[in-house]
């Protein structure tokens, strides 16, 4: 930390109490355009250098954990949408898988592969936003505008599968609400065909750009030990040199069937976080290609499977509810929360776009969760922001904030 005394320039003799001798308190946020969300930082500035930063969070707290305590399991899904809204499908799937773990539902392989396609698309769209925003904050708007068009392709796939784009509420406990249509697969093919070129061009714009490198390297760095102690997970931890990835360490949803590399950085600074996310996008593409290939290998009746055969938990199709007695009964029981939910405590985690997204669900056998706690990665690593920015320039702090990929919705739950 810089001492207040050192501020005084040597060539000028300042009288006591001069403003140049003092640090400035600046209120950054909560609705500052550069903070991309509702973040408030009260920063203590010495010229342009940050002496300390104090975060205030909670501006969009919506009491999700309380709300979840009176909702049947399937009604919690829309809540999870609103955690990390840049990659809602991962949250949705994570929640479904938590429920499936508690209920003992085993999903068919095809469902797993379809889920992986959607989750990896979500990871790409999330990383894409994060990395292009880093560009925006360092003065390069082009990349952001350019890739936005291709995020649209991902959103169109969501739209085709579940009908919505941002807060997707995609899938159900046991599988998907409907099978992927041919159009969905065509859109996926289009994405797989066009996206590599775009990503390459995006990298050409940024990765070896001298200005960009100078702005990002050695700013917002964190050591491996500190990152672990601060509970970092996901790309931010990997940029600090730990190859921890939930997809590899505790595979879920048949991730063990896939071949991919976990990129690691070394310095834990903004530039490494940027690079790690870029490589992860390539890896996600690679996973999607494998998954799509595996999906195509299913033949006959297997190729039509899109949910597990668990009528007591899987919400039946509306058409069947109108025509079949059985389906009507299950529909009623699920909607009214009359299905039996076993007692138990389960912790399930998925590799969210920001890191380990955990769901700690306690069920007392009632119709709703007794307690549900979300382990939100950005809430946990935002603590380190003060340490990351201390001694650096104010303009670097802005880049640090965007390169950490802080999502207010996830942070405040």
């Amino acid at each position: 930390m810089l001492e207040t005394k050192e501020v005084q320039p040597h060539h000028v003799k300042l009288p006591d109490g001069s403003i140049e001798k003092l640090t400035t308190t600046l209120n950054l946020g909560p609705t500052h355009p550069a903070t991309h969300g509702v973040f408030q930082n009260i920063v203590e500035l010495d010229g342009e250098r940050i002496v300390s930063a104090e975060q205030t969070v909670g501006y969009i707290h919506r009491a999700f954990e309380k709300l979840a305590e009176r909702r049947p399991l399937y009604q919690v899904t829309p809540i999870t949408d609103r955690l990390n809204y840049c990659s809602s499908p991962i949250n949705n799937m994570g929640w479904h898988m938590t429920c499936e773990k508690l209920l003992g539902v085993k999903t068919p392989k095809r469902v797993d592969y379809l889920r992986i396609i959607i989750m990896e698309l979500a990871r790409i769209s999330d990383h894409l936003i994060c990395n292009s925003i880093v560009g925006v904050d360092s003065g390069a708007y082009t990349g952001f505008l350019y890739v936005m068009q291709y995020r649209e392709l991902i959103y169109e796939i969501y739209e085709e599968v579940c009908g919505s784009r941002l807060t997707t509420n995609i899938g159900r406990i046991g599988g998907f609400e409907r099978n992927f249509t041919d159009t969905a697969f065509q859109k996926l093919e289009k994405f797989l065909r066009e996206y590599p070129k775009v990503l390459k061009e995006f990298e050409n714009l940024f990765t070896r750009n001298r200005i960009f490198m100078d702005r990002l390297q050695n700013t917002g760095a964190i050591s491996t030990e500190r990152a672990l102690n601060y509970g970092f997970t996901g790309p931010n931890l990997r940029a600090a040199g730990v190859d921890y990835d939930v997809r590899v360490h505790s595979p879920y949803c048949s991730y063990e069937d896939f071949d991919f590399v976990v990129p690691v950085g070394s310095t834990g600074d903004n530039y490494d976080r940027f690079l790690v996310r870029n490589v992860e996008m390539w890896q996600s593409l690679h996973i999607i290609e494998q998954a799509y290939q595996k999906v195509q290998e299913f033949k006959g009746a297997e190729a039509e499977v899109f949910h597990a055969d668990v009528p007591e938990y899987y919400l039946p199709e509306k058409k069947e509810v109108y025509t079949k007695m059985e389906a009507l009964i299950w529909h009623f029981k699920i909607i009214m929360g009359e299905t039996d939910i076993p007692k138990g405590e389960v912790y399930h985690c998925v590799e969210g776009a920001n890191g380990e997204l955990g769901f700690y669900l306690i069920s007392d056998g009632g119709r709703t969760p007794y307690r549900l706690h979300f382990r939100r990665p950005s809430f946990i690593y935002y603590q380190a922001y003060s340490e990351l920015t201390k001694g650096g320039m104010l303009s670097d702090a802005i880049i640090t904030m965007s390169s950490l990929n802080l999502i207010a919705g996830e942070l405040d739950a």
């Binding site: 909670g58 707290h61 009176r70 672990l228 102690n229 912790y347 955990g358 307690r371 603590q383």
Partner: protein, 172 residues
Amino acid sequence: MALTNEIIQQKLQEKFGDQVSNFETPFGLLSFQSPKEMNLKILQFLYEDATLQFTFLTDLCAVHYPDNTGKELAVVYHLHNLKENIRIRYKVFTGIQQPDVFTATKLFEAANWMERETYDFFGVNFIGHPNLKRILNVDEMDYFPLRKEYPLEDQTRIDKDDAMFGRGGSIY
């Protein structure tokens, strides 16, 4: 030798004897309890022991059991040994009248905000915490909203005039 749930349990019982109890493995995750006074000793042992090395705090939260007289609040730690890739769940129970639990911030920086969040919603008083104040709720709040005595609003109530949202007013 890979670290297993049995080895962890054995090591804990060797060190702490009867103080650690209720060993269970729901869904393969070793889960146990101890008196709340022991929490720092146990966390430190788990952190520093050469074979255990639970140096990563995944999650910290609380649960309210209003019927569990004298032990109404549970503080739940999820710990992870990243080298051996094994997780455990550790709980301490505390009475709601004096919900004092020692802070884990000395071991894990990550515990700082998680404990503030737990205090914010359940009122668990973490002794020794550097900055124990509300984090997500407003500072002026004088109750702990995730406790079970605060139910969510009954959605079928009709006394509230909220015609814009289809409730009360001209509809009834």
